[in-house]
Structure formats: C-alpha cells, structure tokens
Symmetry: C2
C-alpha cells in the first residue's frame, strides 16, 4: 500500500470513520484509497469552510474527530475561519492538507504556500510528513492530539510523494492521555464561595460541563446553595429543556450583560473562563463582572469536569439523588400576524422537536429564542464560539452526519448564511435531516446597533450601504433551489409556524425563508 492508504487505514484504526473533503490533485491518492479501505465515509463540500465547519459540528455531537481533506494552503485557508470557531469551541479535528511533492516545493509552483504558517493560528498541533514511512505514525499522532483534553485541532501536511510512495502498513491507534483531575484546593475554595454567596453565587459552566451528566450534578449544587447556573455567553453544546436544569447565558449586549451579573458576589468557573465583552466599546468595561465579584476558577475545559463537579457537590454535602426538573411553563401560543423578535421566539420555542439539535446563528432576529425555549422539550443548543459568522449551515451538515436519527435545526440570519451557503448542496447530496430557517431582514442588523455602540449617531448613506443586504434583495428560495434544497418563503408569523412545522415533519433538508 502507499502512504495515503496507510493514512486512511490508520485513521480508521484510530476510530475516525468520517472525512469531510474538498480535494484536489495533491489529494488524489487519499481519495483513491477511500475505495480500498472499508469503514470511512467521505462527504464532499463545495467550499472548504463547509468542510471544516462540518467537522466541528460532528465533533460537538460525538466527541470523536472527523478528518478533513483540504487542497494545499489555499484549501486550508478557505476553511480557516470555521477552524478558528472550532478551536474556540474546543473541538477536535484532524485536518489532512495535501502539499506538493517534497522535491517539487523548491520550484515555487503557483499553489506553493506556507501551509504550516497558515495552519498555525488555528492548530494546536502541526505535523508534516517528510517521507512516506512517516505518514501513518503522524496520522495516529494527529488523532491522539485531536482527542486529547476537550478536543484539539491537529493539522497534518501530506506531501504528494509521501502519499504515493509504497510503505509497509498503517500505524496502531494511540489512546489520548486521560483528562486531568483538578486539585482539592480549587474544590474547597469553590465550595466555600458558593456556600457563602447563596443566591448571589453563580456557577459558570463550559465545555462538557454543559452536557447532561455534569448538568445533573450542577443542579444538585444549585439546589443546595441557591446559586445561579450560567454559561459564559455561549456554549459549544448545551443539553437543555425537558428535565434538565435551566442554565442562563451572559447576554451579548453589554448593558444587559452588566445587569445580568451585577448581583453576583462569587463566581465559580468550571470548564470556562470568566465572561468578557465580545467587543470593546469606548468608555465601557471589557470585564463584565462587577468589581465586588470574586472569581474562583476550578477547572479548565480540558480537565475532568464531571469529577470536579461531583467533588464540589460532595464538599457542599449536596444530597445524592437527582434534583427534580424545573416546573413546566405554559405552552407558548403560536403567534400570527406581523413579525417580531418576541413572536419568532415563541414560534420556535413551541415547535422545536424533542431531541432536536439547534444551531443558533440567528443574531438580532433570534435574541428571544434562547430564553423562550428553556422550557421546550429536551434538545441540544449549539452556538458560535469564535464569532466568525457563517458557521451554522456547515455545522448542520456535520451534526446531521453525526446524528442521522435526530432533527437538526439551523437558525440563521441572512447575512450569516451567505458566507457558507454552499453547505446547502451537501445537505441535498447527503439528504441530511436538516431544517434551515433564514431570518431575512436583509441587513447586517447587528451592525446597525454596533454603529451606535461605538459612538456613531447618524450614519450617512455610504455607511448604511455597507450594512444592508437589499439592492438586490436576496432570494433564498432560489438560492436553496440552486443547491437542490426545497424551500418556501413566508412573511407572516402564522405562515411561518405552519411552514416551519411542515419542514420539521419532512425528512431531508428543507429551508424556510422568513422575510421581514
């Protein structure tokens, strides 16, 4: 077998069974190997930010890495923004980046670039095969890195001649190191802080701290201390709804964030860092916690968070049994008539199917959905951790590949959706079980607020032009059709609810464009 086949066999042996790909000439041996090696599924994306975003979504649902297959430096560059998001979400991904043959690099052919340099800002590990017999071992190492801690971005550079040269065979899987156990001193300090603060305490959770096993322990801690539970502003993945405890989030809008935190005396961090402002604004603080708030970091996102929370519960003498779930709220009525942020929130909260995977990139249009849906049935809530918009449609591809039996719901603004709309085609090709909602307000609406926040009171027409998506109005029904996805446009809330419900009941990709 050649180096490429040794890599594919190593990936499979290491538990990697999915590859999101946009290959080119230098990756052809890897592509050819797919037909010789059973046990790996390859999904094509038409642009690389679809590929890397899909790998991020896949990890978040399964906590095992997918591979990506990317075409030299520019292919990696096209996928870099969603790798940034994935890194900030602590996802594990194995990037395989094709490269010119080792002896060809000296000639600086057009596609020659500094692949390692492009990879570095988004990768915790970079490995470059120097010869074919390196390839399998590097591949196994990349998977180990990707699986370590909460998840890491491992980028492997595969020169074409190391892919096509004969080798002896694949490399065995190498288990990642176990997650670290946090020190007793941190647990003791956190227990004292939460005990003292009572309802003015806040337990802030990140990483797998927002998944069911940890949340059930967090609920016991909240029950015994009275502390609030929150994420630091966003979650890579939060299980919520149904019988799970209600976990708040630090709002994006600065004034709301300051209000949300103002009565917090003690903040305990498990799997995350302290909440900070998304952006700085003139004469506004970067740190969101009040001056009087003491902060106790307990565990880094890579640590064993379940162990830490269980020891914290023990230190607080929290009763062992499962805390009863929150009281149900009245079912929201499905709204009719004109579109508003409140009605959008009510309609979506009412209709989210049980066990849905919700990707929230709804920005200003969806400001109310998170709060409204906390009493919906059990579902997963995934958010953008890196701030690079255009993440939800690619993520939806990865989540749907990872969890074919669940409904994936991607809620996205039109501006965000445009960055990676090619993901729609992968949804259609793979007939993925995804409902996309486009909030088509035809503006970068968030930036209108931000113009004011940074002190621009009366933007002129040229500034406003940079924030609007009209002239021409995008037609998302046509864009979906062009990618092979069925779509419908609605402009009124009753129609929206009916269209959204119908899409959810249909297997395969469906798109609803809500124009307002």
């Amino acid at each position: 077998m050649n180096g490429a086949e040794s890599l594919v066999r190593t990936l499979v042996a290491s538990g990697v069974d999915t590859c999101f790909a946009n290959p080119g000439t230098s990756e052809m041996h890897f592509v050819a190997a797919l037909d010789h090696v059973p046990g790996i599924r390859c999904v094509l994306g038409l642009q690389e930010n679809v590929v890397t975003g899909a790998a991020d979504g896949y990890w978040r649902m399964l906590h095992k890495p997918a591979a990506t297959l990317l075409h030299l430096g520019p292919g990696l560059a096209n996928g870099l923004a969603n790798l940034h998001n994935a890194r900030k979400a602590n996802s594990g991904i194995v990037n395989v980046v094709g490269e010119h043959a080792t002896y060809h690099l000296q000639y600086d052919a057009p596609l020659t670039s500094d692949i390692d340099g492009i990879a570095r800002p988004v990768s915790q590990w970079i490995g470059r095969a120097k010869a074919a017999h390196d390839v399998a071992k590097l591949g196994a190492e990349a998977v180990t890195v990707a699986r370590s801690g909460s998840g890491k971005i491992a980028t492997m550079v595969l020169p074409a001649d190391t892919a096509w040269t004969e080798v002896t065979g694949p490399a065995p899987a190498v288990a990642p190191p176990p997650r670290a156990r946090v020190d007793d001193s941190a647990i003791i300090a956190a227990a004292a802080a939460l005990k003292k603060a009572g309802s003015r305490g806040m337990l802030v959770l990140g990483g797998h701290g927002l998944l069911r096993p940890c949340l059930e322990v967090a609920a016991r801690i909240a029950a015994v201390t009275g502390c609030r539970l929150s994420n630091p502003g966003a979650s890579a993945r939060m299980e919520r709804g149904g019988d799970l405890p209600r976990v708040g989030r630090v709002p994006y809008i600065l004034s709301q964030a300051l209000a949300y935190l103002k009565d917090t005396d003690e903040m305990v961090l498990v799997g995350c860092r302290r909440p900070v402002a998304f952006f700085a604004y003139p004469d506004q603080p970067s740190l969101l916690t009040p001056d009087h708030c003491r902060i106790t970091p307990v565990a880094d996102v890579d640590d064993d968070l379940l162990d830490a929370l269980e020891r914290l519960a023990d230190a607080l003498k929290a009763p062992k049994g499962k805390v009863e779930g929150p009281a149900p709220l009245p079912e929201p009525a499905l709204p009719e008539g004109g579109v508003s942020v409140e009605k959008i929130a009510a309609a979506i909260a009412a209709l989210i199917p049980d066990h849905a995977i919700v990707l929230d990139e709804s920005l200003t249009s969806g400001r109310g959905i998170f709060a409204a849906s906390e009493a919906s049935g059990p579902h997963d809530w995934l958010q953008n951790m890196g701030g690079s918009i255009g993440y939800s449609l690619p993520m939806a591809v990865g989540c749907a590949v990872a969890c074919p039996d669940r409904k994936v719901v991607a809620l996205t603004g039109d501006g965000s959706a445009f960055y990676t709309l090619q993901a729609l085609w992968s949804m259609a090709r793979e007939q993925l079980n995804i409902t996309v909602v486009i909030f088509a307000n035809r503006t970068y609406n968030i930036l209108r607020g931000e113009l004011t926040n940074v002190g621009v009171a009366n933007p002129g027409p040229r500034a406003v032009d940079m924030l609007t998506l009209d002239r021409p109005d995008p037609d998302w029904v046509a864009l979906a059709k062009g990618h092979g996805v069925s779509a419908v446009r609605v402009t009124e809330m009753g129609d929206f609810s009916r269209a959204f419900a119908a899409a959810l009941e249909t297997r395969g990709p469906q798109l609803v464009e809500l124009v307002f």
Copy 2:
C-alpha cells in the same frame, strides 16, 4: 478627526479611491468615516474572498491599489485564498483588518486570533497600529508598499481604539521607489542567447511584460531573431488580439508542456521565472525545459521591464519601427449542435467583444479558448496565478469597478464558480458590466484527469463521488436569480452563441449556464 478618518483621508491622499469591504463591529469607525471623506467608493462583498479577489482584479487593470476592509482574523482568513492568488499575480493591495481594542486583546474574546500570523503567508508587509497617532503614517506606508515594484500585499491591522481615538490629521502620500534597472550584463547575455538560437529561442514574458508597451518591443525582438514569445503558463494580465503579437503559453498538461518546449535551446526570462510543472507527478519531471535548454534570466517582475526589453532590442539592433501585426485568421464559424471543447473555443473566440476583459477560469471546458482567441479583436486575458480556484467571479467585480466602460467576461467551470458565488450579488448591486459563462459539466473534470496522472487507473465509486457535482445538479439560473442576476440555461452550441451574444449586448450582469 479620529484614527479611522485619518486613515481614510490618508488613503485618498495616496490615490486609493476604492475600498472593497465586508466590515464588522471593529471596523465601524472606518465605515462611518466613509461619509465624511469625499473621493472613496466602497463596494460590499458578502464573503471576504469576493472582497480580496475584487481588489486583485482592480489592481491588474489599473495598477493602483484598492483597499480592502476585513473583520479581524476570521474575516482576513476568509479572504486569504484570493490574497494568495493576488500575491502570486504580483498585485498590489492594501488590506485594512480591524482588531480588538489594544487593551481588550488580553481577554481573549471569541474573535481574538493571531491576525499577524494569518496575514504573514500572503503579505509582503504587515503593520499594526499601536496607538491612534500611528494610523495615518502606517496607512501611507501600506500604500507605498502596495505600489512598489510590480505590486505588493500590504496588510494593516487596526485595533478599534486606534480607530476611535482623536488624532491631529492624515499623513501625506509617499511615492514608492522606482523600478530597478537591470544590469547590462543580463541584457548582453540575453541578446547573445536569442541571436544564437534563432527560431529555437524563446522570450518568456511575465508581469507588465505582457502589456502593450512591452509587447510591441517584444515583437521587434521576435522579428529580428525569429524567437518565439510565450508566457510561463499563465498571465496576471496579457494584452492580446488585434495588432498585438501572438504570445503562446506553456500548457498546463505536462506532456503538452514538454512538447511545447522540447525544441527550445535558449530561454530568456523577462519578468518571470522559468516554467515549472503545476504539480509533480510520479516519475515525471518538475522542470519543463529540456536538458539542453539554457536559461538566461534578465529581469525580475519588479524590475523595469520596458527598459530591459528596449535595451535588449537595441543590443539586437532590432529596427525601431512598430512591427506589423500578425496576419488575420479566418473568422471562426459559430458552431451548432452538441457541446465540445473545440466548439466552445470557436464560439467564444468569435464573440469576444473588442476591448473585453476576459477572466479565464474555464479549466478543462476552456482548454481551446486561449489559442482560438489569439486572432480575436484586442482584449485583455487574465488568469489565476496562484491556483486557488474561485478567483474569476470576484476578479470580475474588481475589473468592472476599475473599467466601467469595458465588458468583463468571466469564463468559469461550475466547480470553480461555487467557491465564491456570492460575487454575483455584488455584480447585481453595483450593476457591473459583466457576462458570466458557467461551464456546467457538473464535475471537477480536471481531477478525473489528475487521478489518472497520479497513477489511479480505475477509481472506485467513492473516489468518483468526490469529483462529481451532480446528485443534486446545481441550478445556476436559480443561483444567479437568488443573487439578483439574470441568467439563462443552454445545452446546445447554437443556443449558447445566441445567449452569449445577447448577454454581451446587455449592460449589467448576465449569466449563461452551458450544461453538457
């Protein structure tokens, strides 16, 4: 005025009158300044690779830099691939990349990234404002760098607080250094080589060596020595057709490239490097010139190529007068019936309007167009110099903004077009005079050949799946409509010619999808 306004005023004072932009919160002060400063046009792109590709096209037509406005590291990352292409084309661009406020960086908010690291692989210069009073001076320096030599990529990082803090004013323009004059020794050696080789000599031209002033001198050199004229495989911009000398190109396909060069004894390089294979293939050479071919480099792309060519012509005692243009060829007949590479070439060559700007990303479908169009009327021929596909639609935006009175013709494969299809929306918004032809063979056809070239004889179904764009078939008429561009689909050559001719006669963007 604040730092952002000082930058906009400095850019305008330095001759930058166009900004391609996809801004976010950290760039809002720059956006606000657009309304206070006359003399700068701002064009919105819905994805950053549209923005950077447009800036590349703008430079290639005007040889003056546009600015780009990009949103922190991820915004730059999204535009990186077309910056790679621009750098390989020796284009000049001033990137303005917003950044968190200097004091906010320490908190590692979601969008925090190593912007300098992301910029480095594609930038010849990186400047980071440390305080507001740096901004104007750095902006002037960035423009000077971008305009130096053949053109450079200058990336300026603009922290939000340096943009919003008050400053005294803009900075004056700084002229770039003049292009270097090449040594006499290189001229003498090249003259001797071409004289000796006669018709077995080849003068290979790059950079502005492929524009009219240089080509007219090259024609005199060819007339006096009998040498062939060629580009090294592709051209950032070549003026051709009409009375201009016919300049060949080294073919992409390796066997054809070797055949094209096999009778060359002496190769003289003016404004380019020696031709090399685009990719390495097992047991095939990386260098395309035969062993017996001597290579004489005369001038780097940054040097004064017109001066070098004039001195070379003088050294060869080439007569001073303009060489008569090549004999006209018979007008190609417009083909009818089924689609073939030859018929595509004939139809396009027959219909290219005089003074058109042609962007060639037609790959396998357009293999014949370059040769067929050498006897068309005068036009510009622009190619991808960096190999990252998805360049032609963004480039078309930039070329059309630069040259509103000329027709821009973008010839692209469907696979390539998908990477940056959002460019269609900018064409519609700005009502740019662009005709797009999509060659919809619904496959990465070039990769089918490459699979064979790298030694894969019988690709299996999973490999073939990675090379095909069917299942579902993209609908480019719908995709164009979704972006606000009128489009028509044809499947037969007579219909194609009529549709292409009609599109060329219509002002504003039009798209023709040729399905075959």
